[in-house]
Amino acid sequence: MAKKKALVLCNETLLSDLVVFTLEKLLCDVDLVDNPKDAVSKIESQDYNIVVIGENKGTVVKPKLAEIIYNKAKRKPHIVIFKKVGETIPKEFYLTIIPRPNFHEALLEVVEKEGAIATQIYQMEHVDLSNYIKFPYFKRTNIFNFLKELKGNAKFHIKSKNHEILGFTMGADIFILKSTLNNIYDMLSLNEVEVAKETLNLNEFLSLTLDTKTFKSNLRDFIVNCINNTNDKDLLLTFLPKKESIVTLKAPTYIVRQVDLINQNIDIGKLQNDQNHTTIEDLIGTDGDLNKIKAVVCMYALNMIDTEEPVSSKKYDVKIKKSFLKKIIDKIRGL
């Protein structure tokens, strides 16, 4: 019987050895890789009958990785995914989903109980951050504006007087590879910083060696937590436009309500009904309640609201956007 070819993508040392051993016993030639980039280049250059996807150094979720591998393969393989508890893997005709084997961990525990030290196989690798940004052009900016404008698929290097942060975004997630802050959510306290940014392409992302210690968060949650962790009212207010600025809700209300900090402190329904009449001051109150300020800063940072300075606040008690007023004047002129 002709041997089949298998590709195993797994960076769990003991488990990958066990899988390779098992497949070889089942008459397969097996190649082992630990990161998605190598897996993709293998699948593009060789024909495999089976691909096994386990935990690996990449950050792409397993079903997405399976889809990439399946689409890139010249000869379409059958793909096995080791599903961890809590993972959601949609069914596909080319997929077989099996629970991630863990008997070896139980065995390991027994061995360790008997005095053997086997922990070296779980050591984490460290990310090489030299030349992380290939063409570092540092630009002075406010850390809040940096976060507000941060988009997906970007590498960044932030420097301030005493601190340094390196990270990247991929899709809706942010990863922090290095931070000298005790708490990464204290980021806003850096205020003025120098930032170098670069686009992160998929190949580079796939080759990034990330371990379980790498900080990862949904970008929106990250920004909310940074704001929530900042209790300096005056600092928070510096992030907002003028208090008299008129606020327009841009995001759908159900999205805005998903953020507890906003939902618990701002009457979203009222804001929607009073579009173009509500000012920042109306939202935060004249006394400037800290939680309300945080909520408005959140909405502003997450681009859920538009703000526009009113035409006049000194001479007349009228609040209207300049753009609206110009439209009205043009309309009447044209009558």
């Binding site: 007023l325 009205i328 004047i329």
Partner: protein, 182 residues
């Protein structure tokens, strides 16, 4: 988004005609026969609640034009009208001294409730028996000097447009100004 332009002035100053000129709908009027004997001699019908006109700017912006009743017993309605108001036009009949004298009264009444860009328009300029200029100047002298006084015919669309535009441009240009209203 609905904004309002308020047109006020004394009885028979031409408020209903004024909003007719720029409303895209036939104004909804609440005219009733005049009951006060002396006023009956001047006109048969008067506005008892509000005249309402509308001007659609685009799908997001609509202007509601309100002509308020001239009689004092309807004063209660003014505060209700002022929400979202952009401008105040005060009309006075140029042939009627009392109507011109009342302009200051109307200005103060509204200014105490909300500071709006305001234009005074003296109507019926096509009529002969106008109040002399020096008297007009005297009656209007208590008004702040930056309130323009315009002479119009309330049945002339261009006059009406220019009056409203003047008020809105005051608002538009007010950013650079720092004068205080007296």
């Amino acid at each position: 988004m609905v904004f309002r332009i308020i047109v006020t002035g004394s009885f028979n100053s031409g408020k209903t005609e004024f909003i007719k000129q720029i409303s895209e709908i036939e104004p909804i009027t609440t005219d009733k026969p005049v009951t006060e004997q002396e006023l009956k001699e001047i006109k048969a019908l008067t506005t008892v609640a509000l005249d309402f006109g509308r001007l659609t700017v685009d799908e997001d912006i609509v202007i509601h034009l309100y002509a308020t009743p001239g009689q004092e017993r309807f004063d209660f309605i003014y505060p209700l009208l002022l929400k979202n108001a952009l401008a105040l036009i005060i009309l006075g009949d140029i042939t009627d001294e009392k109507s011109i004298k009342d302009i200051v009264k109307y200005y103060r009444k509204f200014h105490n409730l909300k500071r709006l860009p305001t234009v005074v328009a003296l109507t019926k300029v096509d009529l002969e028996n106008k109040v002399p200029d020096e008297k007009i100047e005297e009656y209007l002298s208590p008004l702040p000097k930056d309130i323009p006084v315009y002479r119009i015919n309330a049945t002339n669309k261009e006059d009406v447009k220019n009056t409203v535009l003047l008020a809105l441009e005051m608002l538009l240009n007010s950013e650079e100004e720092h004068e205080e209203i007296v």
